[in-house]
Symmetry: C2
Subunit: 195 residues, 2 copies
C-alpha cells in the first residue's frame, strides 16, 4: 500500500478541488476485497462505483454455455463499475471480481452528482469519462471483428503493458475471446520468432 494514490490525489490531476470536496473524498470508506471475492454479481443492481487504490479487478459476464467473457480489467487508479446498472438502477448481467487482493474506495451512487452541485467541473469530467468509455468499447469491437488471436494478444500487450504480467493467462484468454490453450500456443510462437 506504500505507493497507493488516493482518489482525491487522482482527481487533482484533472480538476481543481475545493477543500470541502477533498474532505468529502477523503471521508469515503475503503473496502478490501480478497482475490476471488466479488464487488458485484450478475442479477444484483449496482449501488456503488469503485476506485482502485491497489490491486486488480475483472468485469465479466458468463454465457449460456458457462463460459467467462471478460469485458475489462481495472488496476490502480482506474474506476470500476457497471455504469449502466448504476445509472438505470436495473440488475446487472456482469460480475466484478478481484483477481488480486484489492483495496477500493467505495463511491455511492449519487456521490458525484451531489458533488456536482458545488463543483460543476464534475459534470464535465463525467461526460468526458463516458465518452472515453465509448471510444474504448468501439475500439474493442473493431478489434474483435478484425484481429486474429495473435494480433489481439499483441494489441493487448501494447495497450496494457503495465498490467499484462499480472493477469493469469486463463483470464487473459477470456478477455481476448480465445481458448487458454490457443493463447499458450500464440505465446509460444511469438517467443520462437524472437529467437
Amino acid at each position: 500500500m506504500e505507493y497507493a494514490i488516493s482518489l482525491a490525489d487522482h482527481l487533482k490531476k484533472y480538476i481543481r478541488l475545493s477543500d470541502n470536496t477533498i474532505n468529502e473524498l477523503t471521508n469515503l470508506t475503503t473496502r478490501t476485497v480478497l482475490k476471488g471475492e466479488f464487488l458485484l454479481r450478475a442479477g444484483e443492481t449496482s449501488r456503488y462505483s469503485y476506485y482502485v487504490e491497489k490491486g486488480l479487478l475483472s468485469y465479466y459476464s458468463i454465457d449460456e454455455k458457462g463460459k467467462y467473457h471478460i469485458i475489462q480489467f481495472a488496476a490502480e487508479e482506474w474506476f470500476m463499475a457497471d455504469r449502466c446498472s448504476l445509472f438505470f438502477q436495473q440488475p446487472s448481467p456482469y460480475f466484478i471480481e478481484a483477481i488480486e487482493d484489492t483495496v477500493v474506495t467505495v463511491i455511492p451512487l449519487d456521490f458525484f452528482s451531489k458533488l456536482s452541485e458545488s463543483e460543476p467541473a464534475f459534470v464535465e469530467m463525467n461526460t468526458k469519462a463516458l465518452h472515453h468509455h465509448i471510444l474504448h468499447l468501439q475500439k474493442r469491437i473493431h478489434q474483435l471483428l478484425s484481429a486474429s488471436a495473435e494480433e489481439r494478444y499483441k494489441d493487448f500487450l501494447e495497450m496494457y503493458s503495465s498490467i499484462a504480467a499480472r493477469i493469469p493467462q486463463t483470464l487473459l484468454a477470456a478477455y481476448l475471446g480465445i481458448a487458454p490453450e490457443s493463447l499458450s500456443r500464440v505465446r509460444k510462437e511469438i517467443a520462437q520468432k524472437r529467437s
Copy 2:
C-alpha cells in the same frame, strides 16, 4: 417521406419542449445523402450529429487488410454520429455512409449544449443516451465473444427485426463479423430446419 417523424416530434416523446425550442429544432437544416454517399469519412473530424428522418445509415471502420467492419446501423428515428470525434474534436477512424437514399436533420456540434441552458432536461437526456450507448456496446462485445455465426445472426434478427430486411447481406455479414458466404450458408441451414 409521407410518414417521416421530425426531430421535434421524436424528442417530444421523451421530454417536454418549449415553443422556442421546437422552433429551433424545426429550423435545423436537413440534408439528403444518396445511397453510397458519406456523412463522415475516416480522418475527418466530425462537426455534426445526425437524426435520421428517413433512410438507413451505416457506421463502419476499415482494417489494415481492407475489410469493412460495421459498428452500427441507424434507420428512422435514430441518431448517428461519431460521438467521440465530435466530443474530443479529434479525427474519426470511422465512416458514416448511406445504405439507402437518406434524409437527415443536421445537428451542429454545440446545438444541444446551447439548448441545455434553457432546457436543462437536455443534459439528462444526453447522459441517458450515453449510458444506453454503453449498454449496447457492452452487449455487442459479449455477443462477439460468446456467439457463433448462427447465434449472432439470430440475435440480430430479434434485435433489429424492423430493419433487418433492408440490410444487404454483404453489409450484414460485415456487422456480424463473418464472411458473406458464411452468412448465406447460415441462412440456408435455418431455412432448412424450418421445413
